[in-house]
């Protein structure tokens, strides 16, 4: 029997990026806020100091900071014809855990979506015809426009201190930036990072082949910075231990470095760690949440009543909580009816691997988000007529590390072990680099999330089941992007060039990205979305999913975090300025 705690104004499920932002904004507005996080407290000096943070085995290979599958995992199948089996060990995507969530160990790649991305279906149909899109492609327009979200992108980037060079300042093109980006209201908070030899060579080749390279926007800061909350961040030291690792010297934007110390100063904010929310509780009408139930490490159940419930866990787990709590109609891929679990999408990445001649690249000198990138083949920035696919992605040199357990390239055909392997490894390490494409992943009728009929978690609740495979559209897109990248790479005069376009079927056991999107889509129409344009549940008006990637109707050719952060601020404003004045459906 759950013991009931004193009521709060707001309960936040999960204390990662969105939980921290919402916690701060609502505590500042004077509300009584509690955040419930199922993982441990994490802090720079005790958990990832620059004395043992730089441990590839522990963090990159054994995944010490990540969610343990025995705490939560999913089952997976490529299509409905297979039996879904548990993801016993995460590989393709690596969900975070603990205070700060994946914000602790992300790469810091900070990208806005394009203005056309926000109205992708309308735009593509306008340009290519009403029948251009495949019938089973379920992409839809966002219920917000780029122009509406632009101030919130700006706000999140200022929170992070993102380093970059604007390409479009209020409509005026800027040299050195991304000429394709949506307009910005201000320059980046800090200038671009310095670039190593590999990125410089790529940029030269890209320019010489008629493309428009620019520095990747990075929340690994090029210089010390103070954000609007008064938080001080340091200068990135190019250590090459970024993704999968916490930052030891306060130079990567994270909830720890950008928000939490300021948030914890509010006497009306409390964080409760190692406590797992098991469900959102509804009243007898099913239209109002009364709070949440969580379980502590002893297995004791606690009920936390609250007036507002914010679902701020990682994207996949937001969807599962909504399904387990019975909020919104679950999606059925057979009938196409229902909404929760619908429009699951991912990211379509590929690489071009190079071995250069006579170069000393020092590839271990890197940050999570440095590099030189081109956006010429993203979104609808290029004419898709006759290509047989839609969508696109950015591409370029963004190699984040050369940690030798996982990164020691050898020429094609080299044996995997033995004397030749050793020789080739020694001779190639300094000369090899990897270029990448980072492409969109549109939504499809059959790619979805629902509850598994067989497998359960340690608390006896059904795991969520993921049904996903790459469609022809994405594979053709990947092939195209990879060829374009390979063409540019040839201009770098490599000794060896190996394109590696994404091939189907989607293999869950090979790392790609942790950009899982969709499932609690935000939209204009309750028949095809779980949330309205303010990330408020259509069904239960005091439940919000403030901006986690589960709200994306599809995934575009960029990393999700900037959009997640922007939508978190967008939702915070809607709650503070609209909902609190008049609690009820905002649309």
């Amino acid at each position: 029997m759950a013991r009931k705690l004193p009521a709060k104004d707001v309960v936040i499920i999960g204390l990662g990026w969105t939980g921290s932002i919402l916690g701060y904004e609502l505590a500042k507005a004077g509300l009584d806020v509690v955040a419930i996080e199922r993982g441990p407290w994490r802090d720079t000096a005790t958990d990832f100091p620059p004395a043992y943070a730089q441990d590839e085995l522990r963090y990159a290979v054994r995944l010490d900071l990540f969610l343990r599958p025995d705490q939560e995992t999913l089952t997976f199948r490529n299509n409905a014809g297979q039996t879904a089996l548990p993801i016993r060990s995460f590989a393709s995507f690596l969900p975070g855990n603990g205070v700060g969530g994946a914000g602790v160990h992300w790469n810091g790649q900070t990208w806005r979506f394009l203005p056309t991305d926000f109205r992708v279906r309308s735009h593509l149909e306008e340009r290519y015809g009403k029948d251009a899109l495949p019938a089973d492609m379920t992409i839809q327009d966002w219920p917000v426009s780029y122009d509406e979200i632009e101030p919130y992108y700006d706000r999140f980037e200022k929170l992070c201190g993102t380093s970059g060079k604007a390409g479009n300042l209020r409509g005026a093109k800027q040299d050195g930036g991304n000429p394709f980006e949506g307009w910005r209201s201000s320059e980046y908070p800090t200038p671009p990072l310095k670039q190593g030899l590999g990125a410089t060579l790529f940029a030269e080749a890209a320019r010489n082949t008629g493309h428009n390279p620019f520095p990747q926007p990075a929340s690994n800061l090029s210089e010390a910075y103070v954000n609007p909350l008064g938080m001080k961040l340091g200068q990135c030291t190019y250590c090459g231990f970024c993704e999968r690792f916490g930052c030891g010297n306060y130079s990567k934007a994270s909830p720890q470095t950008c928000v939490l110390p300021a948030l914890l100063r509010f006497p009306n904010f409390t964080a409760q760690t190692e406590s797992e929310v098991t469900r959102i509780n509804l009243d007898s009408t099913g239209k109002r949440a009364t709070g949440i139930t969580y379980v502590d490490t002893s297995g004791e159940e606690w009920e936390q009543p609250a007036d507002i419930v914010l679902v701020c866990a990682f994207a996949l787990f937001n969807v599962r909580l909504m399904l387990l709590s019975g909020i919104g109609k679950p999606y059925d891929a057979q009938t196409g009816q229902g909404v929760v679990g619908r429009n699951y999408a991912y990211q379509t990445t590929s690489s071009v691997n190079l071995i250069l001649k006579d170069k000393n690249l020092n590839p271990f000198i890197a940050t999570g988000a440095h590099g030189m990138i081109i956006d010429d083949y993203n979104g609808d920035n290029f004419d898709h007529t006759g290509l047989g696919f839609f969508g696109g992605g950015y591409m370029g040199f963004g190699q984040t590390n050369a940690r030798p357990i996982q990164t020691r390239p050898v020429p094609a055909g080299t044996p995997k072990w033995g004397a030749q392997w050793k020789k080739a490894t020694a001779e190639t390490y300094q000369r090899a680099c990897s270029l990448a494409t980072h492409g969109s992943s549109y939504s499809y009728k059959d790619c979805c999330l629902d509850l598994d009929p067989t497998y359960k978690d340690r608390l006896g609740r059904p795991l969520m089941r993921m049904t996903f495979d790459f469609h022809d559209n994405e594979l053709k897109m990947s092939a195209f992007l990879t060829e374009r990248l390979a063409d540019i790479a040839k201009a770098m005069d490599p000794a060896e060039l190996t394109p590696a376009p994404r091939k189907g079927p989607y293999n869950m056991s090979i790392y790609q990205t942790t950009h899982n999107t969709g499932g609690t889509v935000m939209g204009a129409d309750p028949a095809t979305s779980v949330l309205n344009r303010y990330c408020q549940s259509w069904d239960v008006h005091n439940v919000f999913v403030p901006g986690g990637a589960s709200v994306f109707p599809q995934n575009h050719g960029y990393n999700p975090t900037d959009t997640v952060g922007a939508l978190a601020y967008w939702t915070a404003d809607a709650i503070r300025d609209r909902y609190l004045r008049n609690p009820g459906p905002l649309v």
Binding site: A45, P50, A51, A224, V226, G230, K232, Y250, P261, R265
Partner: protein, 409 residues
């Protein structure tokens, strides 16, 4: 001279406001609340997480344990029954209930300088806090230290009661600063070196002292060992926000910033700055000779520094303002007593968080990574690089501090 004397008298008179006897006056109570902040009563008399001023916080002294008493207005277990004269005697003369002598863990040797009016204002404020029934047995010292009468001997040697006397040759602001530093804020209680009996060495006021594993640094205006290189703005920022371009407050000073200095008025902070920046360094000793760079400890220390420290404190030792303390040219790093340096390297520390500087960055612990000789080497290196010069740190020093930290972190 006469006019500045007059100004000084006026200043003291002002600080003892006219409406002295009406304890229900809002302004009086607010005056008392602020003086309690200046005096940082809560630091000892409020147990963390406990009701304000209800006592119960144990103070570990080398002689044994003392527990700070309950100073809420509760009549049985607090100070509700004390007369005004008795309250004055507590702060001015070191006399508690029934005239019992207090131990100077209660800093009456400093509070004795406060005016009657200020002390009674504190009383007026304390009379308004919630009375809490909490019976505290303060004296938990072992025999023979628990004999309070022995304090008569100690007081005779080390204590002179008496109110602050303004210096007519100094400005009103200077005198206000002196009044606060020497009186209410009792900075010397930590920062003034002590005689072997624990009394202040008055001829070395504020020249630094060690207490329980922390070195409270020299805060005279000595340019090499004290804060003589700090600008006025550096000092003001430090007191207000806990950080300046040189360093960040941590350890016991973090508490003092949080509860006391960050809550002071700007005028009072400027006054403290005026006084401290004028505060008599000892006759300047000869400049220390730096340890040679090719000394083996320096060589090893340089390697350790490059691999372990430079990613935050930088190869140049300049650190990052408000994030990683500056080591180059730092008086703290060159302190005669390296106790704080050794402690911070072994155990790490967290900087204070204030409203304007919330970051509270933390130095991680290195006790698991560096042996005694290695920690000593890297400290010797930072104390003697970039123009710094100070005595090397010995492995034995590190070893003994490691042991004492293990016993009482």
């Amino acid at each position: 001279m006469r006019s500045s004397l007059a100004a000084a008298i006026l200043l003291v008179a002002w600080s003892g406001a006219v409406a002295a006897q009406d304890t229900q006056n809002f302004d009086r109570i607010e005056q008392g609340r602020y003086l309690a902040v200046l005096s940082d009563c809560a630091a000892c008399h409020t147990k963390p997480g406990g009701p304000p001023f209800a006592g119960g916080l144990a103070l570990q002294t080398p002689f044994g344990m003392l527990v700070a008493p309950n100073i809420t207005p509760d009549r049985e277990t607090g100070i509700g029954n004390l007369t005004n004269a008795e309250f004055l005697a507590a702060l001015h003369d070191g006399r508690g209930h029934h005239g019992r002598r207090l131990y100077p863990a209660m800093p009456y040797p400093a509070y004795t300088k406060m005016s009657d009016d200020d002390v009674l204002a504190i009383r007026a404020y304390l009379a308004t806090v919630a009375p809490v029934s909490n019976s505290v047995i303060s004296n938990q010292l072992p025999f023979p230290f628990n004999i309070r009468l022995s304090m008569a001997f100690w007081n005779a040697l080390n204590f002179t009661a008496g109110r602050y006397q303004p210096n007519p040759q100094k400005s009103a602001e200077w005198n206000r600063g002196a009044y606060i530093v020497e009186g209410a804020a009792h900075c010397g209680t930590c920062h003034t070196p002590k005689t072997f009996l624990g009394g202040d060495k008055n001829d070395a006021a504020l020249a630094g002292a060690t207490l329980q594993g922390w070195y409270a640094p020299d805060i005279t205006n000595d340019p090499r060992k004290g804060i003589g290189r700090w600008s006025r703005d550096d000092l003001v920022q430090y007191l207000k926000t806990g950080a300046n371009s040189w360093t960040l407050a941590s350890g016991p000073m973090a508490d003092a910033v949080t509860h006391s200095t960050s809550a002071m008025t700007d005028e009072d902070i400027f006054a403290i700055a005026t006084y401290l920046m004028d505060s008599g360094a000892l006759a300047s000793p000869s400049r220390a000779v730096p340890v040679a760079a090719n000394d083996d400890a320096m060589r090893a220390g340089a390697a350790i520094y490059k691999d372990s420290c430079a990613a935050c404190h930088r190869d140049t030792g300049k650190g990052e303002a408000h994030l990683f303390p500056r080591l180059a040219d730092s008086a703290l790093v060159q302190s005669d007593d390296p106790t704080t340096l050794v402690r911070v390297v072994l155990q790490g520390t967290r900087a204070v968080s204030t409203a304007s500087m919330p970051t509270a960055p933390a130095m991680p612990a290195f006790d698991w990574r560096l042996g005694d000789a290695q920690a000593a080497a890297v400290l010797t290196y930072i104390r003697n690089s970039w123009g710094n010069a100070a005595a090397p740190v010995s492995p034995g020093n590190v070893a003994s501090q490691r042991t004492s930290l293990a016993k009482a972190p």
